[in-house]
Structures are given as structure tokens and as C-alpha cells.
Symmetry: C2
Subunit: 75 residues, 2 copies
DNA sequence: CAACCGTTATCGCACATGTTATACTCTCCC
DNA sequence: GGGAGAGTATAACATGTGCGATAACGGTTG
């Protein structure tokens, strides 16, 4: 019902726009459905583990910083 | 409630055993949870789009035939 | 035998996803 | 202006998944 507070959506959208992809094209290249990318961007859901993997792969393929700073955690 | 009729489970299990992995290790290497691999093997669910991709990647990494013949379809 | 231990099987619940459908916003072109 | 099409937003429903727990099974070790 209520959207998530995370900014995944914004970051996914930025990534997508940097790559000049439509939601559908991005979904295709990530291996998910269009609705899923749309839901991320509009904050209805958050990418799953596996989806995050794909997103980071996509980032690396295009020489962009990954989306998950899970390693350098805080600080 | 009822298991799926697909043989994904069998094929996943065969793949896993060829690689000498436990369900947990395979889950780890695929980026999914142990329960998910277990559900595949026992036919409660079938892999999602994204999961299938990972499985095929795992196949290719080990020079085995991919699990999805979706391309060469009927022929 | 019983007591572990690694592995597997199953369940329940919350949440993510796939699919399909509808509607809205543009831009382009007549 | 009005239609057509691409891109997007949103919805409902079924299904897949993550997480945690519990149980069962097979070794092995005391």
C-alpha cells in the first residue's frame, strides 16, 4: 500500500537513464519483467537479492559504481 | 499443495550432484536461499526467470548444457 | 545403544515477481 | 483538433522467494 522509503527506485531510474534504456529494455537486460522495474522505480517493491546481483552486473558492464555498498557498510 | 509436473527438480538435482554441491552451497553460488533450491528439487516451485538465468550461467561456467532450450524450442 | 552432526524435507508467513490489463502522458503526424 | 504510437503508472491475481523453524534421515563416534 505505502511505498518504500528506500531510494533504490531513484537510483535504478538514474542508472536506466544513464544507459538510455526504456523500462522494458532494462527489464529485458536484467532478466526480469517490465512491471518489476517499474515497481522498483516507483517504490512499491525493492529488488530481490538476485535482482540486485543483476543490477550490479549491469553497472559493472557499463563501468558504473555498483548499487550495493553492502561491503563498505556504514562509515 | 500439489507438486509441479515439470522435471526441473530432477535436472537441478542432477546438475547439483555433478558439481558435488550441497543444496546450501548451490543456493549460495546461485544467489538464492537454501529453501529455494530445496523447493525446486522437490517440485514445489519452479525457478523464476532470474533464477533460471543463474542456473544456466552455472551450467555454462562448468561447460554443461544449459537447462533452458527455450531458444531452439520445437525445431 | 544414544548422542551428535551434516544434509535434506517441509511448513508458514511476509514480500517480490510474472502476467495481464487498463489508463495516462507525451510526441509526431494528418 | 484528433488519432496513433511509444513510454510510463497502476492494479489484481497467482506464483516464486527469503527467512526462520522444525523434523527426519544417514553417518560416526562415544
Amino acid at each position: 500500500m505505502t511505498k518504500t522509503k528506500d531510494d533504490f527506485g531513484v537510483r535504478v531510474k538514474e542508472l536506466r537513464e544513464q544507459l538510455h534504456l526504456t523500462q522494458e529494455a532494462m527489464a529485458e537486460s536484467l532478466g526480469v519483467s517490465f512491471a518489476t522495474v517499474n515497481r522498483w522505480e516507483n517504490g512499491w517493491t525493492v529488488p530481490s537479492k538476485l535482482a540486485l546481483r543483476q543490477i550490479d552486473l549491469l553497472c559493472k558492464e557499463n563501468h558504473l559504481e555498483p548499487m550495493t555498498d553492502t561491503k563498505r557498510s556504514v562509515k
